[in-house]
Symmetry: D2
Subunit: 328 residues, 4 copies
């Protein structure tokens, strides 16, 4: 296991994770879920594509839902620091002989489509159309009062290798990680950030690459409690997969939901500031149950096993065999 | 001053305060305020009258808004324990030579209209049409999440005399009171209940009788904070008159609002259980500023001086001259 | 099944449930749990007995913990309306040929010990020594901010018969109940009150009589979330048995805890006002999983099966065989 | 007025504001306030100096309280990105002919003392001794559950000039600002950040330089409500100066407190993420009362006029004469 420090001078500047593009079977049904139930703001619908954002977000979209036969994750979107960073990103991926393509995206500036060495489809951009913040339009607050996009969490068949790429090359910074009890110990999961909280991208050992969930930030635990009550009494009971609870890792108060196509969303709050360059990552043992949940509740098997496929990505079995303790 | 115990065997059984009937100038404007902003449930509109209730209330109405030239309080409604109590109430008021009349009220059973010895118009009933509780229809929760009607608070020109009537005759029980520093000290304000929390009816020394406010119960302080944010950003900023804050008396976390006609509503939470028959009333000195607010904020002059007139009630100056400390 | 109305003129007036007396193996360990962790106020220790109360309670005690070889529930305490009610209670139980005895209790006035027809040990009193309320001593708020004792919940081998006694004779009022799918349907569980919220006493079909739990009232869901975090990180993780969650029945936001002797406590909030004499009880089908939990979480087997024995009470199997759905 | 963009390539990298060093008259009294009442964690006392930190902070200190005859702010501390940044900072300030000095500080690595062109005393460092995070030691949570140091807010006699220095040279990024109604309009107040939320440093037009307040971040509004209750009932009522309320600027839910020496602390929550390099600053008109408070409450005169002097800094009158609307 190596938790080498992140590259202090990455080839291009990733500001933060920014948005996700998901295939959904029925746009109306997805709107009912994401907008009417969860309370995301609908920016607009263009053809078969629905653009949503959180209450504080001025970016045109953080969720892009495309009506499609395949319920895949089509792109994980990251904002770069400048137009020049886009060009530097293209050069970097080309030099690695990885696929790159300039995409045309509604309401975004120049957009670079790439695939990382493990098959995950990414898109990079610098500018996006700006909308009004709804942060002080309190009359529009609904559902979970989702403020903003927070992070991606992916199953990875090679956590060490993927970590080495994102931290060692792209400058993602490690905040917390899980190590196995093997000799030598192996890296089993990592939480990495660019924007200054616990993560923009987390990786967990498993069949992959697959998207485990996207996380959205909500102001507090009561927003999540109320969301449970609303979901349970408006026909969305089945959406509740796990929680509410407290993760040991990241200190998050969490709720995991499944949308009508099975895509998982985490309502997430109460992590911490991580901008210090000398922040020491927190190590958790794979066998430490508090890692998953401070309060001792078991997660359902689906949470450990199911995830969203990435469009066009081949799935491989995990390199590491160690498994967490799952409640019976 | 006398805080004689309440009559343990009152002539008829008042279960609780139940509803208020208010004259309003513009029904649409009042609906926009009470339903769209505050989040009360609209049961129905019948002609020029709007019937509203709280989320947990199965009674057809706790707010009756009648479009009218006069922005008065037309009735304070109390639920009695049985039909027989209604007849006993009629006999009691007649024997006192006070006005009584059997009223016809939409969605209520037999209703007795009376006026107390100080001119306040009351109505008594036993049964009301029942509606669905919205308590577990969480998708309908809006605004302040108002659960139920809680209390009346009135200016009284004769707090001692009015107390003697409601406690000494009708069996209202004292929970807290304010006394002056006069020699002998005089009763300046009282909080009296029937239903088991701090009050169904409070009286404060002042020009009256007038309605100071009706109180509605909300689950917690965060509902009130959110209500402030919503009112301030949806065109209702002027509705906020005082608070949020913490009363010493009753321990209430409060917010005082004025509706479009000036009727005052208190959003109220966090008082305590008072069913014990031997509960000792809590005494507050008029000069103790913590009585009004634990945190030291001054109330605006309007809060001390303005109130809703009762239809047909003559207003008299207060018997007691002592005044609370008002911040400059 | 019969859900006959409660006796409107009971032989004596039960004001509310008031306190519990529990045998505990180690008083220091129990103090560490109830006082240091949960935040109950310690009124005093007298010999091998610890007296605790909630923040708003002026009564000397609502928890009486007696160091003892047997971890039993020794008494369920109820407050009566007057000294005369005590004498009426004695006459009533004697006439039923049920055991009665005048007990000597620290800090209580005259106390009557009885056993109900099903073997549950009760004590009745009218006056208790009064202490300062800690409601506005916010510096003493700790743990879950427990405000007051709320209810008893018992396993009963004969829910119908026990209901008939408490409602039909003693005037407890039904608020919610569970019925089986048998033909004819049978009463499976009941929630009955005297004080004006959902319950003072609940009964669930099962081996009994046994105490399932005592409920204490807390202001809101965040107090419960914080309590989970505190318990999980101060060595009390094992105390968390079930929750936090939302019951369909009573609308309670709940957390179930086990003390060091296995006695179960429910942290409870967000039920509703029930003082209306014509309140219609809410019926739940035994097969309706929302009854137990609105959010779809299974309760652990221990929660369905384990309880505290009553001192001196023989345990019998339940009359009704129907069982709720238990998650695998 | 010029709100020129911040320098994208500043001479040295300021990571974030980090700590404050305050003179206090009585260390015991200050400990009673900051530790016992507010709930900051005491790292250690060394001689006449007390070192405190927030619950999530692993840095040794964010508050340094020095028993002293003068109740001044001795230093505003900022963390730099590396040791090399310290040397670059020294070179930069020297080249500006501003005072620099290598200070010896307990529990910090190399520390550079400088004074900005307006007389404000700063200190820069890269490494600080690390302590355990108390974030998951929930048994230690007290008072307002303060998580971390958030920002400095200063009176400035020359907001435009000071802004030009911090943004135009040091790379602080503007998030919100207030402009006068003069022709041409003038910059009246600015909020600037380095760490990714609304501010590390804010400046308000006024006699200065003086420290208006330091802000600390708390999880939510209920922590602030509870803090008010605790302060008001434990002898610290006079500490409450303004709030709780909601600022229009930054969307902060706030409470302003004065410590025993008059130093002002803001309990602060609910601002937003600002890492996007193309974030458009929000403009507020000086006459817009919502800027100060969304709910319409007036701030007391003391809040506009009083502040902590910086040790050794001469105070000058403000360049801009425009004044905000102050409630009568």
């Amino acid at each position: 296991m190596s938790i080498q420090p992140s590259n202090p001078a990455p080839p291009f500047n990733v500001v933060r994770c920014s948005h996700v593009e998901l295939g959904v079977a029925d746009l109306e049904r997805s709107r009912a879920y994401y907008v009417d139930a969860l309370g995301l703001i609908e920016t607009e619908q263009v053809g078969d594509t629905l653009y949503l954002r959180g209450l504080e977000e001025r970016n045109h979209h953080s969720f892009v839902l495309v009506e499609s036969r395949e319920a895949t994750c089509r792109r994980m979107g990251f904002k770069l620091g400048s137009e020049a960073d886009l060009d530097r990103a293209e050069a970097f991926f080309r030099q690695k002989l990885l696929p790159t393509e300039w995409g045309e995206k509604h309401a975004q500036g120049r957009t670079l489509h790439v695939r990382d060495p493990f098959g995950m489809p990414l898109e990079f951009y610098y500018t996006m159309d700006q909308c009004d913040s709804c942060m002080q339009l309190y009359g529009r607050y609904q559902g979970a009062h989702i403020q903003r996009f927070d992070h991606f969490n992916c199953f990875s068949p090679d956590v060490q290798g993927t970590y080495d790429f994102y931290a060692g090359e792209l400058g993602f910074r490690l905040t917390e990680y899980t190590a196995t009890e093997d000799t030598p110990e192996q890296l089993w999961a990592v939480w990495m950030h660019r924007k200054g909280n616990v993560h923009d991208l987390a990786l967990t050992n498993g069949y992959g690459p697959r998207l485990h969930h996207v996380g959205v930030w909500v102001p507090g635990a009561l927003n999540i409690i109320h969301m449970c009550d609303v979901l349970a009494t408006t026909g969305w009971l089945q959406a509740i997969e796990r929680g509410p609870g407290r993760h040991g890792i990241s200190n998050a108060f969490f709720l995991y939901l499944r949308d009508p196509d099975g895509h998982r969303t985490e309502l997430f709050t109460s992590d911490y500031l991580t901008v210090d360059p000398d922040l020491t990552p927190i190590r958790w043992a794979l066998r430490d149950a508090r890692r998953q949940t401070l309060w001792g509740h078991a997660a359902p098997r689906s949470w450990f096993e199911q995830g969203t496929h990435f469009a066009g990505a081949e799935i491989r079995p995990p390199v590491v065999e160690a498994q967490p303790i799952v409640a019976p």
